[in-house]
Amino acid sequence: MKNKQIIQRTAAVLLALVVWQLTAAALDSKVLLVSPLSVLLRLLTLWREPGFIDSIRFTMARIALGFMLGFVCGVALAALSGRFPVVENLIWPFMITIKTVPVASFIIIALIWLSSRNLSVFISFLMVVPVIYNNVLSGIRAGDRRLDQMAVVFRLPWYRKLIYIRLPQLRPYFFSACSTALGLSWKAGVAAEIIGIPEGSVGEKLYMSKIYLDTDDLFAWTVVIVVISFLFEKLVVSLFKLGYRRLEKL
């Protein structure tokens, strides 16, 4: 079943590439749409250009920082809301605002408060908090009340309750939240850089390719962002899995 799925998905990707190649050939305009082959050739030269790694490092460090801060804040707020329902009501307006206001509005408002260099940290943080908060709170609410009673009867200290009861219960919620939040943090973080244009960022590179109608560059940088975002997600999820494996061996 799994092999069949892999074959089908690989075939779907190849088909999409063929459609893309044929469309690009039909349009015959490097500004409107470049071919996948051109993007591949551009990628082969792009990574050797000066500043390539620095740009990725710049953007990745800020988005990773925003994600981590958002994760910690989301988990802490969910824990507080799970324990004290009044906290949930108090932060409800903030969560609704973050979820409903367009990210572009936040970026422009934040540009007034912050330097463009740190804008992506804040925007990533903002996008991550509600996702982590909602998932973790759902996990806390779905917890097995019978295990909580067991903990009460045996007078388990809070840290044992956390390690042996709460964290295992939250496992699927953490994975789901991280997967969604990581994708969002990259999308919003890069969008913030495109608007703020901090020097030496991936967002700046994308902005420049738009200004100069350099569609090769635009597509190549987009591919780079997708690949790095994917690898970053895999890294974080692997670290979580490793953490949980260690936990189970305690």
Binding site: R146, L147, Q149, M150, V152, V153, F154, R155, L156, R160, Y164, I165, P168, L247, E248, L250
Partner: protein
């Protein structure tokens, strides 16, 4: 254990919505002894245990003599499925040696490191019993602890429970009089549940 008191249940009442489970029920569970609580299904045995464990509050009456240090074998095992049998016993603060020795005594020597989710129903039950036996407690409450065990294992577990009581008070719910006899326990039979059914005697 020297200051153990009898557990006195006086005219305890408990309802869940419109369903009356206990109606002025009274009983005394002697300190340092094993008492088996018997009665028809639905007569309120588990409810009474939950009241004694302070997991729910009575609507009326009072329960006295319940010590602070408690242990329980719940009707369901209530184990941490991702963790090993040994860890599940150590969770409550038992030493590795004590946990290991108790699990081995209950016939789980080959499964100490296996995650509980991989164990059979009977094995999980024994892990739950081991956890309660290893707890630093003065009162042990066991809700049908030997349910689901085959005859040989059941007898062996009863022997282990009896020999490891060490002067603690125990209340054991069972439907099997033979269990009570093997445990050397006093028997309290609860009358049928429902309002008016188990009034004070």
């Amino acid at each position: 254990m020297s200051d153990l008191k009898d557990i006195k249940v006086k005219r305890v009442a408990k309802s869940f919505g419109t369903k009356c489970v206990l109606d002025g029920y009274s009983a005394v569970f002697p300190a340092g002894r094993i008492t088996c609580l018997m009665g028809e299904s639905g007569c309120g045995k588990t409810t009474l245990l939950n009241l004694i464990l302070r997991l729910t509050k009575p609507d009326g009456g009072e329960i006295s003599g319940v010590p602070d240090k408690l242990a329980a074998v719940f009707q369901e095992n209530r184990l941490c499925d991702d963790f090993s049998a040994l860890t599940n016993v150590r969770i409550i603060g038992a030493s590795v040696e004590n946990a290991r020795e108790t699990l081995i005594a209950l016939g789980l020597g080959d499964s100490l490191s296996r995650p509980v989710r991989e164990l059979s129903g009977g094995m999980k039950r024994r892990v739950a019993i081991a956890r309660a036996l290893c707890a630093d407690c003065e009162l042990m409450v066991m809700d049908e602890p030997f349910k689901g065990l085959d005859d040989v294992t059941r007898r062996h577990c009863i022997d282990e429970v009896r020999s490891r009581m060490g002067g603690r008070t125990a209340i054991v719910v069972t439907h099997d009089r033979e269990d009570a006899d093997m445990l050397g326990a006093e028997i309290i039979t609860m009358p049928s549940g429902g309002c008016g059914g188990n009034a004070a005697k």
